[in-house]
Symmetry: D3
Subunit: 327 residues, 6 copies
Amino acid sequence: MRVVTFGELLMRFSTPENLRFSQAKSYDVYIGGAEANIAIYLSQLQNDVRYITVVPDNELGKTALNELHQWKVNTDMVKSQGQKMGLYFLEKGASARGGNIIYDREGSSFSQIDEFTFDWDQILEGADWFHWTGITPALSKGAASACKSAIDAAKKRNIPISCDLNYRSKLWKYGVDPKEIMPQLIENCSVVIANEHDVVNYLGISPQNKDYKEVKGFGMRCYEFVSKAMAGQFPNIQYVISTLRETINASQNRWSGILFNGTDFIQGDVHEIDSIVDRVGGGDSFMAAFIHGKLHFNEDKKVLDFALEASAKKLSIQGDYYILDND
Amino acid sequence: MRVVTFGELLMRFSTPENLRFSQAKSYDVYIGGAEANIAIYLSQLQNDVRYITVVPDNELGKTALNELHQWKVNTDMVKSQGQKMGLYFLEKGASARGGNIIYDREGSSFSQIDEFTFDWDQILEGADWFHWTGITPALSKGAASACKSAIDAAKKRNIPISCDLNYRSKLWKYGVDPKEIMPQLIENCSVVIANEHDVVNYLGISPQNKDYKEVKGFGMRCYEFVSKAMAGQFPNIQYVISTLRETINASQNRWSGILFNGTDFIQGDVHEIDSIVDRVGGGDSFMAAFIHGKLHFNEDKKVLDFALEASAKKLSIQGDYYILDND
Amino acid sequence: MRVVTFGELLMRFSTPENLRFSQAKSYDVYIGGAEANIAIYLSQLQNDVRYITVVPDNELGKTALNELHQWKVNTDMVKSQGQKMGLYFLEKGASARGGNIIYDREGSSFSQIDEFTFDWDQILEGADWFHWTGITPALSKGAASACKSAIDAAKKRNIPISCDLNYRSKLWKYGVDPKEIMPQLIENCSVVIANEHDVVNYLGISPQNKDYKEVKGFGMRCYEFVSKAMAGQFPNIQYVISTLRETINASQNRWSGILFNGTDFIQGDVHEIDSIVDRVGGGDSFMAAFIHGKLHFNEDKKVLDFALEASAKKLSIQGDYYILDND
Amino acid sequence: MRVVTFGELLMRFSTPENLRFSQAKSYDVYIGGAEANIAIYLSQLQNDVRYITVVPDNELGKTALNELHQWKVNTDMVKSQGQKMGLYFLEKGASARGGNIIYDREGSSFSQIDEFTFDWDQILEGADWFHWTGITPALSKGAASACKSAIDAAKKRNIPISCDLNYRSKLWKYGVDPKEIMPQLIENCSVVIANEHDVVNYLGISPQNKDYKEVKGFGMRCYEFVSKAMAGQFPNIQYVISTLRETINASQNRWSGILFNGTDFIQGDVHEIDSIVDRVGGGDSFMAAFIHGKLHFNEDKKVLDFALEASAKKLSIQGDYYILDND
Amino acid sequence: MRVVTFGELLMRFSTPENLRFSQAKSYDVYIGGAEANIAIYLSQLQNDVRYITVVPDNELGKTALNELHQWKVNTDMVKSQGQKMGLYFLEKGASARGGNIIYDREGSSFSQIDEFTFDWDQILEGADWFHWTGITPALSKGAASACKSAIDAAKKRNIPISCDLNYRSKLWKYGVDPKEIMPQLIENCSVVIANEHDVVNYLGISPQNKDYKEVKGFGMRCYEFVSKAMAGQFPNIQYVISTLRETINASQNRWSGILFNGTDFIQGDVHEIDSIVDRVGGGDSFMAAFIHGKLHFNEDKKVLDFALEASAKKLSIQGDYYILDND
Amino acid sequence: MRVVTFGELLMRFSTPENLRFSQAKSYDVYIGGAEANIAIYLSQLQNDVRYITVVPDNELGKTALNELHQWKVNTDMVKSQGQKMGLYFLEKGASARGGNIIYDREGSSFSQIDEFTFDWDQILEGADWFHWTGITPALSKGAASACKSAIDAAKKRNIPISCDLNYRSKLWKYGVDPKEIMPQLIENCSVVIANEHDVVNYLGISPQNKDYKEVKGFGMRCYEFVSKAMAGQFPNIQYVISTLRETINASQNRWSGILFNGTDFIQGDVHEIDSIVDRVGGGDSFMAAFIHGKLHFNEDKKVLDFALEASAKKLSIQGDYYILDND
């Protein structure tokens, strides 16, 4: 099946072996970004994946694209222009100490896109799925416009659209209120990953105390409120997914997820994860596996559990994306 | 005491720091092989150890032998001939992801031995113990013949013989049924480590449901069946040892073992092992310590617990063999 | 606030990635020493810290001082003389295997100090706190004399004095009984960290069975006996601190502490610490945070818990000292 | 332009930082093989490159293919079968010490191919060039047959064929005389890289003293004899290329080449190369650039000098293949 | 003597061991920037050095400042504000391949300074020298204004001012012509390093063919033209320095310099430099040593040769700045 | 042939990849010491080598001995006692920067030996050669006594004795004049490596201007004076060897040597050595090869050239001793 994902490609610098930034004399380099992570995993699952982004026209941009080629992701429609690679710096957590992330992506080549950067009709030709995330419209006005164009083109072709809503307070710095932008983008999606921050910031609705209830092993959660708010406002949405993560310490997490299919709430398997290798990309691995599941076997509980297992296994892999265990 | 061990020396390439094969730009090199691991540990315990193998006549062969010299294992009877080093590639497990092993030992210098390669009378001169494993006859017809010669020579001299039966389905590719080879080799052994796969594949006997019973912390086990099958068929066997390993995840194991001395079943201490550094060689460390125990203090429970402790501690050591903590 | 700490600066060589000494082809280099660790952390907490030591007059000495400069510790009064850097070699524990430490500090430049080496009046000018440890008088007769001079000068100026008594049987090799030296040094301290080994070896008093009682999660302890022995003998002491550490395995510890303020015993929070990165310096981080707490907010329970949290978090940091998490 | 190359993909393990095999505790991993090196460079030069090989059906095979994907080489027609990856071990030379290479490729998945393994008509569809080397028929009878099939299919389609004749005495172990195999393979080639060893071993003709003459900076050479022998015997050959390499020491080489176009001998630029980073693949970089030159600008002297420059620059790159300097 | 330097602090990421960007899985981290490099070397020479910059208010900024503290450079007047660290990526040259540098400093915290950012009267209190470079006004209009303020304040106090004019075509992107900015900044300098690019771009004067003459070992040079143009236009200038660098290959350079003191041209020693370790910062080491020479021994030829030797020796040091060889 | 060598075993810590001490966060560990280096090379040349030393009774001592075992050097007579390993710290030179060495061997386990530490009659049983160096008597009075005992025992058995006289001004700190010690030790030697410092410091004779003459490529040398002074004073000496080394820069040396056999001066081959990997141990490799040559083929010019080639090749090897190139 052909899947198109769209978003910023990032280069990550992380300190080796539990070192703090101030201690490291070298940083390990990884290539990632939510939508690229999803593209890479879907390609490993034998889907025909096209990834859309802009990288700077220099050796860093080329190096980043090489990583996608390695996994046979199609980058023919990627633009190489501008001079700035999106970067982030990561100090992984360890023991009683949490992780630390520093973004350096403002003014990146990608953030300078607009509605005319890509020819979405050509890009979406033959596509069976389109995926984007809430990170992209948070980067710049032009990036939000590019999302709109992409979603409109996908909608026109009746291509299923998924979105990890993923509100991040550190972004959205360009002077608009997410509530003015996001609803028209979410409107045409059929699958969303959402949590209460998304509802609050994108829809302006806040859960009340009564909206929370205990989920065993995960404390007080308001996934019903979130799911119904989303599904209520956007009739095109077929699935609202709530991921559940409980951090015991930097090396130990409990993960699960709940899916609302418009009728039922289906809880997935619970994974107790010890000795975490790298937390980054767990959610992206979930999303990729969910898309794959929907395209290939399409039974709610089975799809959800497949996605949760991918998500749990990702945490055993260094870097931003999951590497399939073929053997 | 003088101990002789015999088997293939292997060079291991393992990916560093939790990386998958596809991520690693360098592989760590270790020297191992079940019988070499045992030789090295026994030498550290101040035994006079002679190791018998064939290595290729090149720098890899020399490098591998250097490792044994480092631990003062005698390699004077080792042959350097042929061109191919036995290799294996290891991706250690981590968190929710299991390990992955790839062998590249077919056609190795060692696998081309036969009954005329070694002068066993000279080799076993003055020996107090001889050890081999079920891996060697699985490699080639000639290797099986060499085992036969060695065992016969040891038997003739009344040297105690131990064997880790260790059936591996990935080997035995040279066109004979293990059942035609192994019984005549096991026949003269006095100590064997055995499990149900060994009984099934070497003796052609399968445990039934009734043969399994719960071992606390280790689930359903059939060690009584295995032990009695072995001891019943081979009157020379004095000890049948069943090791118990329960994998909680890639970093956490529970280990123990049960010994059958022809009369009683003696259960050893249970070790809860966290934060495993390297799983390889845990069984070899057990075997080496068991041999040492038998040669030096010889009380069943004490020997078994000494072996289990060595086995548990090995898992804290990088590489294939145990390094004694002298201080 | 201005704090002065005094003691030997050490260079540490530790084997990388769980390797044993006999396996490592490179050793990681860290700079530490109890009093330097405390200086560095207090400087990060925005105190004005002066560190007093002697380093050899060579590149190793300069390299070690650079580390203190990096954290803005004042070293203007440090002497560079002699030729020998104090060293220690560390093999960290892992899984079922404990750590291993080898000191090479005998005859070091620092150990050759005496009461004339430093001008304590100049050093203590404007100081709000002075800290030393029981390691220094254990190194040489001259080092003990230097401690005496320092403490007398601090006392004269009414500067609060703290000491981690820290009896170590491997030191005290220069032919005096600690009981002849330590009481006159402890006498003028206002804060001490003490345990039963300190009481036995410095005061010659031994706890009896009845002096031990169960501390939940930490087994039988005699902190009341220790605290009262210290406070009873030395009226200047305002706080006797007992740290509690329970080693579950090399990666898992339980830490807490109890403070005696002359009136009450106050137990601090209990920290369950998993996936320990580096055990060294946990106690020094505690001491530094305690001093900071006393100087800045001074409420017993709050100071103790602040110190325990610093101590627990230190174990997540590579190297000998804590690096504050500013972000 | 579309180019097809065919040959064995190799995994290389080389010791880091001038270490001898016996010193290295890790080996750096590179992917190479003459024909893959050429494929990767031609792809970087924006040709549409298809690479044909067999890799084992395991993670090592997948890892090796990933490297080709990274550079956008098409591997759709590669077969994954068998269990053995072709390997080689490399100790680079340094100062007065030469390099050392150990092959471990006997019995590899690739060596087990035969004339039925590949569908050459499909593979060569639309191809503008086909490249193979003398290494492939040297591996096994089946590999020689596969070469024959490929060359015949290319000839049938009038696709230009190039070959680096590259006689290696360590290969050709399977019991045939190269003179029985090679002439019929060379016969249909239009471009060959040849030297006197190729003439002696493939054609059975030996140069006499009179056939050697001084080439300035390169000593006595017999390139005229070689070129005329080749061109004389095989009328389809349009170019015989003689590369010239003079080793001053392990870090310093002089490189050039001479081309015979049937009429003239054209000498290329001479490159003095200092501080060599990695000697492997210099000839492959030459061959790739030569093919590119013939396909794109086709003037003998210009093509030759372009190829020589690529060759010289390769020696500044770690690993087996050239990485184009785009900036 | 007290020296103040002012400019952007940069974090450098360079590929290890001759790797290309596309090959490296980790990048080595160094801290540098022309003016910081000078500050660090002058501090090692026992000057009292104050460094003025802006770093982002995050862990990268703190890490960068730590490097200056390590060398006892005073950073009390540094501002921590904004979010973006100035970065550059470096691929060192090797053998026949030149180096490659990618800047990522646009929009950095430093580039957002203006004439009100620093209190220059306070900063220059007691200063004996002030140093800036042509890189700073090239970054932004505000940065140029900050330079102007600094220079005016220094002039007012009669503090000698030096500048490495250092025109870079990749900078000056903010929409002004350097000729409108630089003359008024150069006007008050007493020492400048200048070359023909500076004259062309800052003064609008171009050398003619007749202005070039052969400098032995360095080809055709126009240093007389440059020096006289500078000294002619700006009467405050006492020294115009022309550095001479001849690149033989990436590992071998020839370096020298010529000083014009208003009367004479004095040529410095010529250094033949082999096996270069790191080319970055050679000029900064020259500048620092020149300033030190002027402040401490002040004889033209001696100062020049001292500076050239520092410059040559820097190329043997990893990283951006010189580390004095004390022993 | 059986060779005995005697001296201190050292652990070396050297900074990786051209780093200065102040930059390195890890130090590479090597095992060496002049006499151990000789033992290891002679063992590789298939001699039966016994090495005599004292190592501390801890893991560092064991680790150091393992290195000798690796090369099959017999250490059965080595003593493990005391607590201090002899150490040295090395910063290799690079480009225009020379190397830097810091010793930390004072008070080492070895330096505490005396004439009763070893049973020389047992040690020298069956020996064909005994080797010591001038470093040992320079360490302590006891070490000088131990040398005396060893030499006397060897003399008594008519075993040829060689010595690298190797005067080092940094040693001889224990309060005696070398002239009181060395003559009686040299007296019984048959082969010495000597230079003018040895003659001056051991014999109290200084060369005059007239004693120097030009040696082509090596400047002014006084080897005739040295040789005749040595041979004149000590009639047992059969060979005085003068090594010639000319340092062009840290990476480039010219090496040769001249032998005086009592009659003739024989000059060896001159080696131009580029791209030096590690300078340490070049002289030891020379000495070892000279001993081997004398024992096995014994023709002056041939022995000298064999030794010079080993010496030149050593400089291409990391670490303290030569590793034979077997392939």
